[in-house]
Symmetry: C2
Subunit: 408 residues, 2 copies
C-alpha cells in the first residue's frame, strides 16, 4: 500500500455520488415498525455490475436481477427486508417480477433496468399487498439528501444493529468522483463469490466490463473474506451502479487513474465488509486475522478464513482468553501447506508463539488487549510470500440467543 | 442393514474382552481431583491398529505412538488428560518418550509395545513429576473388573460430562468374542481421518492388515461423521487392540464371519462417536443428519457434515425452532451437486419441505419433537443413490460459557 489516493467523505452516503436518490419506509413485512422497503434510483441509466451468492438454492429476486443485469445497466434497485423470498417456488418468482414491475412504474424507469433484492426469513411467501402499497409510497420518500440514504440503509437491515455505509472521493481527469456503498448483514454470513446485500453507487464513468471485473476482484479480498457463522446465504447480492455524471473520461484498466479508482473502490468494499463482521449477530468485537508467509495468496486466504471461522477461537476472543493453541490448531486443519516448525503468532503486538514454540507473555497485557473492541490475530508462516486478511467477530451468548429463536 | 449379528453387552467395558486390564488415578495434571492418568494393558502383545489426526500440528505423543505401532503390535496404552503435550517442541517429545518408558517399566511390557496419548490444553509442558509419580502408582490400580475400566474412562475425560463406552459380543468359529471401546471428546471435535481419543479392545484373533483396514473404514462412517464445533484437534487418535485370546481362527476378509465382525466393530465405533456428539461442549441434545439421494456416498457425507456443522442449524435446534430454511441453505452451500427443485426435508417424521417447497406442518408438533433429547434431520435429495449420516449437537449458551474461559 502506498499513499492513499482518495479521501474519506465523512458525511457521505449512497446519494453523495451525482445522480442518485434513495428512500425507505415501513410497509409491514417486519413485525416491528422499522423500515422494511427501500429503493435507490439514478437519474440516468447507470453502468452496473453485480455478484451473487454461490448457494445452489438462489432466491427468486436473484433470478430477476440477473435478467435485468443482462445488458450491464441498471437505473433502480428495490429491496425488502423481513422476508427472503427464497424457496418460494413459482409464486415467489412471480412476486419478484411483480416487485420489479411495480418499482419500475412508480420510479419511472424501464423494468429491465431494475434490480430486486430481498432478505429475511426463508420459505415464506411475500405479503404482496404490503409490498405493493409500500412501493406506491416510495416516490415521495426518494431524496437526494442524507436522510434518503438513511431511510434506505434502515430498510435493508434484519438482525443488524447498525447501518453499514462508506463514501470516498478522488480526482480523476480533473473532476471529483465519488464512490459510496450501503450494506446489510449480521447472520448467515460467509459470503462465497458474493456477499450479503450490498449496494454501491458511483458517479464516475466506468466501462461496464472493467466495473464488473473490479467488483469481482474487490469482492474476493473484502466481502469474501468475512465470516460470522460459516453459513452462506441464499440471497447474497452485491450491486454497483456508476452514473457517469462526474464528467470524467470513461475508466478502464488503461486509464492512468485506474489504480487509484480501484483502490478507492476496494476501500469502500472493505469498510462495508468490516462493518458487517463487526455487527455480526451477538458480536462484541471485530476480529481481524492476517496471515503472511503462506505459499500463495489463495493459501493465505484459506488459512485466514479457517482461523476466523473457528468457533473455539471466536469463543476465546469473547472471553478475552489468549488461547493461541486454538489458533494454531485451526491453522493446522486448514488443509494448506504449513511448516509445523516455523509459525509465529501475535495478538496485536503481543508475541505468543515464535517458531511454533510458546513465548512467555504478560497475561494481564494480553487480557487488556483482548478486551478491546478490535482484536488482531497475526500469523506468519515463514513459508512463502502469500498474504491475506479475513474479518469476523466473537461468538457470544447473544449469538445463541438470537439464533435459538429467530423465526419465533 | 439386515439382522444384527451381535449382542450388546450392557455391563461390558474395555476389560470385558479377554486379556485386558485397565486403571486410572489422579496424578495432579487437572486442577480438580478427577482422574487424569490411565492405562490399558493386555496379558499378551495384541494385534493393533490406529488412526491419527490429519492436523498439521501433531502432538508429541502421536509421534511416539506411530513409532510403537510400526510393527502393528501393542501391549499397553498410557494416557493423560489435562495437558495435550502439543506444540511443546523437543522437550514435549522427550516427555512423551519418558511417559512411554515409565509405563513400559511399571506395567512390565516392552517400550515398543506402548502407545502414548494426551489430551487437554495445547502449548504447556507436562508436569513430569506428577506423571512419573502417577505411573508408579498405576500397577496397583490395574483391574480386570469393571471398576478398572471406569477409572480409565474417567482419566481420559476433559470437558466431557459423561464417559463414552460400548461393548458387544458375537460368536465366531463357535467361540464368543468381544469388542469394546472407551472414548473421550467434547470440544475441538471435527475429526478428519481419525478422531478424538478412543481406545478399543477385542479378544478375537484378527490379522493386523485387516484390523487396520476395518478401523479405517469404520472411522470414515462413524468418528469422521461427527462434529461439535468444526475444529480438528492436534491430538486425535483411535487405537484398537485385539488380544486373540477368544480362541477363534484369525479373522480377515476371507473369513466367513468377517461381515458380522466388521458390523459389530463398526457398531462400537458408532456408539462411541454418537456419545461424543451427544456430550459435545454445552450440548443439550444429539442431532443426527441423514442424507439420501445424493450423487454418491462421499457427496452425501459432505452434505450431512455441512448441515450438522452449521451454527445456525445448531442454534435453531437448541431453540426448538423448526427453521428448515437454515437446513436447505446449508445443503446448498456444501459444494456438492444438488437439484434445487427436488429436495425433501423431514424433522423426525414431520415433513417440512417436499420438492424444495414448504409444506404446512403443525408447529406445536414440531416444537414438541425438537424439544426431545435426540433430533433427527432427514434430507432426501432425489438425485442419486448416495447416503450418509452425521452426528452432532446443538449450539448453546453453555458452549460459549465453556469456551470463553477454557484456559483460565
Amino acid at each position: 500500500m502506498g499513499k492513499q489516493m482518495f479521501e474519506i467523505v465523512s458525511e457521505g452516503s449512497i446519494v453523495t455520488p451525482r445522480g442518485f436518490s434513495a428512500g425507505g419506509l415501513h410497509c409491514g413485512l417486519k413485525k416491528t415498525d422499522r423500515n422494511d422497503l427501500g429503493a435507490i434510483r439514478c437519474e440516468v441509466p447507470a453502468t452496473a455490475a453485480a455478484v451473487y451468492t454461490t448457494n445452489i438454492f438462489q432466491a427468486a429476486p436473484l433470478k430477476v436481477t440477473r435478467e435485468s443485469m443482462a445488458d450491464g445497466r441498471l437505473q433502480a434497485v428495490i429491496v425488502n427486508s423481513g422476508n427472503a423470498n427464497a424457496c418460494t417456488g413459482q409464486q415467489g418468482e412471480e412476486d419478484a417480477y411483480a416487485m420489479r414491475a411495480a418499482a419500475a412504474r412508480e420510479l419511472g424507469v424501464a423494468e429491465s433496468d431494475v434490480a430486486v433484492a430481498s432478505t429475511g426469513v426463508i420459505g415464506e411467501l411475500l405479503k404482496m399487498d404490503c409490498v405493493h402499497a409500500g412501493i406506491q409510497g416510495l416516490p415521495e420518500q426518494m431524496n437526494v439528501d442524507r436522510e434518503g440514504a438513511e431511510a434506505f440503509s434502515q430498510a435493508i437491515l434484519t438482525t443488524d444493529l447498525v447501518k453499514k455505509e462508506s463514501c470516498v472521493s478522488l480526482v480523476i481527469d480533473g473532476v471529483t468522483v465519488h464512490i459510496a456503498g450501503a450494506a446489510k448483514g449480521s447472520g448467515m454470513i460467509h459470503p462465497n463469490m458474493a456477499t450479503m446485500l450490498a449496494f454501491m453507487t458511483c458517479d464516475a464513468a466506468v466501462e461496464q466490463a472493467s466495473l464488473q471485473q473490479l467488483l469481482k476482484q474487490a469482492t474476493d479480498t473484502t466481502f469474501n473474506m468475512i465470516t460470522v457463522d460459516g453459513d452462506t446465504s441464499t440471497n447474497d447480492m452485491l450491486v454497483a451502479m456508476a452514473s457517469g455524471l462526474a464528467g470524467n473520461q470513461e475508466l478502464n484498466a488503461e486509464h492512468p487513474d485506474w489504480e487509484a479508482f480501484a483502490e478507492a473502490f476496494t476501500y469502500v468494499c472493505r469498510i462495508l465488509a468490516q462493518s458487517i463482521a463487526r455487527d455480526g449477530e451477538g458480536a462484541t468485537k471485530l476480529v481481524e486475522v492476517s496471515v503472511s508467509g503462506a505459499v500463495s495468496e489463495l493459501s493465505a486466504r484459506a488459512i485466514a478464513k479457517t482461523v476466523i471461522g473457528s468457533s473455539l477461537v471466536k469463543s476465546a476472543v469473547f472471553g478475552a482468553d489468549a488461547n493461541w493453541g486454538r489458533i494454531i490448531a485451526a491453522v493446522g486443519r486448514a488443509g494448506e501447506p504449513v511448516n509445523p516448525e516455523t509459525v509465529d503468532i501475535r495478538l496485536g503486538d503481543i508475541i505468543v508463539l515464535k517458531g511454533s514454540r510458546p513465548v512467555v507473555f504478560d497475561e494481564e497485557e494480553a487480557l487488556a488487549y483482548l478486551r478491546g473492541d478490535t482484536v488482531r490475530i497475526v500469523v506468519d508462516l515463514h513459508n512463502g510470500d502469500g498474504a491475506a486478511t479475513a474479518w469476523g467477530c466473537d461468538l457470544t451468548y447473544d449469538y445463541v440467543r438470537i439464533n435459538a429463536a429467530y423465526r419465533t
